[in-house]
Amino acid sequence: MARFEGEMLGRAERLASLYPDPRSAIIPLCHLAQEQDGYVTEEAIAHIGELVGATGAEVQGTASFYDMLKFEPVGKYVIGVCTNISCMLRGGYELLDAASNTLGVPPGETTADGIFTLEEVECVAHCDKAPAVQINYRYFGPVDSDAFAELVGQLKSGELDEQVPEHGTLIRVLRDAPPPIPLEEIDAERARQDAEREARAASREV
């Protein structure tokens, strides 16, 4: 399951072919690997390297820079509690403590049943709903300790399945469009437009 297979392989190959330089697909492909396996496995890193013409070390070097990319298994739901300034001013740290109590794990850890990972996160741009919580990058707020416990209950019972899909962010982001126009064609278009532009400029000078 760690290399891309079946439908996911098709998505991966399409992603790699979108860009003028296939390496631009490294980050999207890491997201895709997370959709498939929950985290970016070593096998996925090697496979991404093959798809974009990079070594596994190069892919790892890029991927390790980014907070959203995980290299170890995480819970079905990754819950982030924001403690940055706007949320802190409205009880973000108190909420993080409450979340930790409710789930029984400190920030950075996953519950024994593998369902929840708790994280302290930086500003999630949901500041008017402070203190804010992101669950698999879906946003909730303002959340107090009771509301948090309720959210956890709803996740367990499946009530939020529609709103909060499993794992990363790309699961529902599907490009449905023709392949981008080849670069050579773009270059010809560019040359044509530049010629037009110059002709216009020349006619103005006359």
Partner: protein, 450 residues
């Protein structure tokens, strides 16, 4: 002449409060289905792109934007038209839209990508036409899961109705737009770091010069990087003209801006406001906007333009929301994010939390930022929890001076990008204004606000 886009604490989307006069980027947001193609087309969607393609030359579009004096809405406030004018002549050019909104307390692009993604795509298309780019990339913060879904849908819709792809509207102009997700790194909002990330690398800001990606940008080609809100203004500018845009606001601050109000204020939210026409007092206390503070609380400080801008205090409340007015008073309008602190909050803690953010998000390339930021974070933390030393205040100011010599505004720089110099303003402001609070923490090990 205000107009609000009320997003309220109750979570309900309310109709805009107050008088609705001018709404430029928020015109559709009163509709619950503002993100759909149907609403977009029913409210003039693509009329401007069509007009630009069929009735205007690219130069004419660029000239309107120059006339409008549209200042970049991402944080630096550079004139978009001038930026476009710096584009080096080359075979390939690219447009990149910066939607990596991560400046603490900034949440207006989050609103735009979720609630009016088609406007963003139309604006990006107009910008691409004006600068002669046939490939544009919208780079969105990876955490914006719903925003990514909706922008991709809007892109798909645009291809389906012939607004993207080959020979758009029969004009001969062709354009592809790709959507790129980030993966969690504040620094990728810095435009050269964003380009590195987009090329599949770590988000390390590039060494300057060249100062502008218009010279060397994506894949080494000249590239324009514009913010989400900036390009979302373009459909209106093309429809109404640069002069009409410029007639709103005053001085260099033209048009409207989305102000994101958060912190200890009764009604946080995103408000679209004509530039320079209201003051911070109006925004924080006005009935149509923030509606003031909790009962019996007093304002101690507010941050006018995102976490990296120098703090303001009650004596600054009557400054108008304008680029130059705020700069003249020693801060910046930045990303348009106003953070309110009342006297129940501890300024030491607030300054520490901001410093901690920048320390965590430092990319690590430059020593003053990487080490200085980390030192400041640790020293501020020990003061906050009651283990501080009296000499810590001088040490903090010395560290600030090493990151940003003189701790002046606008900041001097010892680093590749401005992330490092974003740390000192909060620290120096808090120490100079709230020295007694610091000393209480240090000498008595207690917080007067606890």
């Amino acid at each position: 002449m205000p107009s609000g886009l009320g997003r309220t604490r109750s979570g309900r989307r309310e109709p805009p409060p107050g008088r609705c006069s001018v709404r430029i980027v928020g015109g559709r947001l009163e509709h619950p289905d503002s993100h759909t193609l149907e609403r977009f087309l029913a409210t003039g969607g693509n009329n401007s792109f069509r007009k630009a393609l069929l009735e205007m030359t690219p130069e004419a579009v660029a000239a309107e934007v120059l006339t409008a004096n549209l200042l970049g809405r991402g944080g630096a406030g550079f004139e978009a038209g001038r930026k476009w004018g710096m584009l080096r002549k080359a075979k390939r050019r690219y447009l990149v839209v910066n939607g990596d909104e991560s400046e603490p307390a900034t949440f207006k692009d989050h609103l735009l990508v979720e609630r009016d993604p088609h406007q963003l795509v139309e604006g990006a298309s107009i910008a691409a036409y004006a600068i002669g780019a046939s490939l544009a990339v919208i780079y969105l913060r990876g955490e914006f899961a719903l925003g990514l879904e909706r922008v991709q849908e809007a892109i798909n819709d645009a291809y389906r109705i012939g607004a993207l792809g080959r020979d758009i509207f029969g004009s001969g102009f062709s354009l592809d737009i790709l959507l790129q997700p980030g993966a969690g790194a504040y620094i990728c909002g810095e435009e050269t770091a964003l380009l590195e990330s987009l090329e599949g690398k770590r988000g390390f800001p590039r060494i300057k010069p060249p100062y502008f990606p218009a010279v060397i940008g994506l894949y080494g080609a000249p590239t324009i990087v514009n913010n989400v809100e900036t390009v979302s203004n373009l459909p209106w500018i093309v429809e109404h003209g640069g002069e009409a845009f410029k007639s709103l606001g005053s001085g260099r601050s033209t048009g409207t801006r989305l102000f994101a109000l958060s912190g200890q204020v009764n009604r946080p939210g995103v408000y679209e406001v004509e530039m320079t026409k209201i003051t911070f007092r109006d925004l924080i206390f006005g009935e149509e906007y923030g509606q003031g503070l909790a009962p019996s609380r007093n304002l101690t400080a507010f941050i006018p333009g995102g976490a990296s801008s120098p703090w303001f205090f009650p004596e600054h409340l009557d400054l108008p929301l304008g680029q130059d007015e705020v700069a003249k008073a020693g801060s910046m309008l930045g990303s348009g994010s106003v953070i309110v602190m009342d006297d129940s909050s501890c300024p030491v803690r607030s300054a520490w939390r901001i410093a901690r953010f920048f320390a965590r998000e430092s990319c690590g390339q430059c020593t003053p930022c990487r080490e200085g930021g980390t030192w400041i974070d640790r020293i501020m933390e020990r003061i906050e929890i009651g283990n501080g030393r009296e000499e810590d205040l001088d040490l903090l100011l010395d560290l600030c001076d090493n990151i940003s010599p003189g701790v002046v505004w606008p900041p001097a720089q010892t680093t590749i990008c401005v992330l490092g110099p974003s740390i000192p303003p909060a620290i120096s402001a808090a120490i100079s204004r709230f020295r007694d609070d610091f000393l209480l923490h240090i000498k008595e090990g207690r917080c007067p606000h606890a």
